[in-house]
Symmetry: C2
Subunit: 217 residues, 2 copies
DNA sequence: GCGTAAACTTACTGGCAAGTAGATTCTGCC
DNA sequence: GGCAGAATCTACTTGCCAGTAAGTTTACGC
């Protein structure tokens, strides 16, 4: 039961540092077990802290999870935002390309974060589902705006607006799914993943924009 | 006395009928709360039966969940299989088209089933995750075989094989994600969803097959 | 009719995990 | 040095829920 043997009794740390450690531990534990199966004892243990600390600093289990979601969502969004920000104005396809690369890069080096956001948060329902689906909706709208603006610029406005949101949802889902697939096939670079999607999606868009349509025979 | 009293009290029913009722209830409850948050009491309650029945017929909570997954996965696969089976040999794009339509049709009229399979099963981990990811892998491989065979027939074999699995994963994910999006935008017909995806994906494939490539500038 | 097995119930146990009370250090500051 | 208060712990209480023991009722074959 004695924890780490040779530490001179973990020093006292200022609150914000401990909070960060606890949140890190929580993300890891939640990503491994999911919200319900995760225990506060384990979170405290992984954080190297006793349970009352967790409650004192982060509140209830729901509060803690909520805070994880919020922090990780912000990190992801910041990573992507930072990845697409440049001085020049970007063509829409380059925008998408940079966004996808940033996304995959983030997922690649923050698996736990991604797992919590993508798999665990959705399955809990209630408050969290709202927060997550809001983030998701924002991503989709962002992508949709690229799609729609490209479409309208080319003069197929009505159709683009109608299907834009749906296509964007599909694209976001494709990226998410590819990220999951990546976990089982790590011997691929993130640029490759992004370029697969670009090839699939942008070439398809290109045809649509030029008026090509697939229809069943 | 004799059976003159007609209580609305559920009559005694043969085992297989009850088992079906219990499984139906379980799918509903699991889809609403997820594995851990769902209680066996509620399952029994929704099924209109007492708890020991559930244990007698279906075993432990894990067994029950497992059986739900198995049954619903089979129903989904059967629905899609049935949707693409015809007498004639189908062109690959028509195969994909029919498959997508069947998939969306199933999801549309079996929301609970889809939720359990897609959202809940993944988040539990362990045995279930294996079963689910096996089903998923099979779907992806199926799609991949269509993609790859189309590619090789057109003479870009090497590249098609390399990216085929990834593209298939992306496509499957796009379909799943579009299915989720549909839940929030139900005023779209399932054929429309399928045709959006076909337009996106098949036109993109078409270009790839003809050697077109998008690359960053 | 009547006995037997299958269908079904009530009412419990046991354990795990969320959340807390209250005592106990340490640390910065005068 | 000593004290105020923040940081931290041990050791509980509480409630829920998976799983079960043991009994009761009904269908149905003969």
């Amino acid at each position: 039961m004695s924890r780490s043997t040779q530490q001179p009794r973990a020093r006292r740390l200022p609150r914000d540092v401990r909070e960060r450690q606890i949140l890190d531990a929580a993300v890891q534990v939640f990503s491994q077990h999911g919200f319900h199966a995760a225990s506060m004892d384990e979170v405290a243990d992984v954080a190297g802290v006793s349970k009352p600390m967790v409650y004192t600093y982060l509140g209830s289990k729901e509060d803690l999870f909520s805070e994880c979601i919020r922090r990780e969502a912000k990190r992801l969004i910041d990573a992507v935002t930072e990845g697409v920000s440049t001085d020049d104005e970007l063509a829409p396809d380059m925008l998408l390309w940079l966004g996808l690369r940033s996304f995959f890069r983030y997922v690649g080096s923050n698996r736990d974060s991604w797992t919590v956001l993508h798999r665990q948060a959705l399955s809990v329902g209630g408050t969290f589902a709202d927060e997550i689906s809001e983030m998701r909706t924002r991503s989709i709208e962002l992508v949709a705006s690229v799609v729609v603006s490209t479409g309208t610029k080319q003069g197929i406005g009505e159709q683009a607006e109608k299907s834009g949101a749906g296509l964007a949802a599909a694209l976001v889902g494709a990226a998410e799914s590819l990220a999951d697939w990546w976990i089982d096939h790590p011997d691929v670079e993130e640029g490759t993943l992004a370029s697969w999607l670009m090839n699939l999606v942008w070439l398809g868009f290109g045809d649509l924009v030029q008026g090509a349509v697939w229809r069943p025979r």
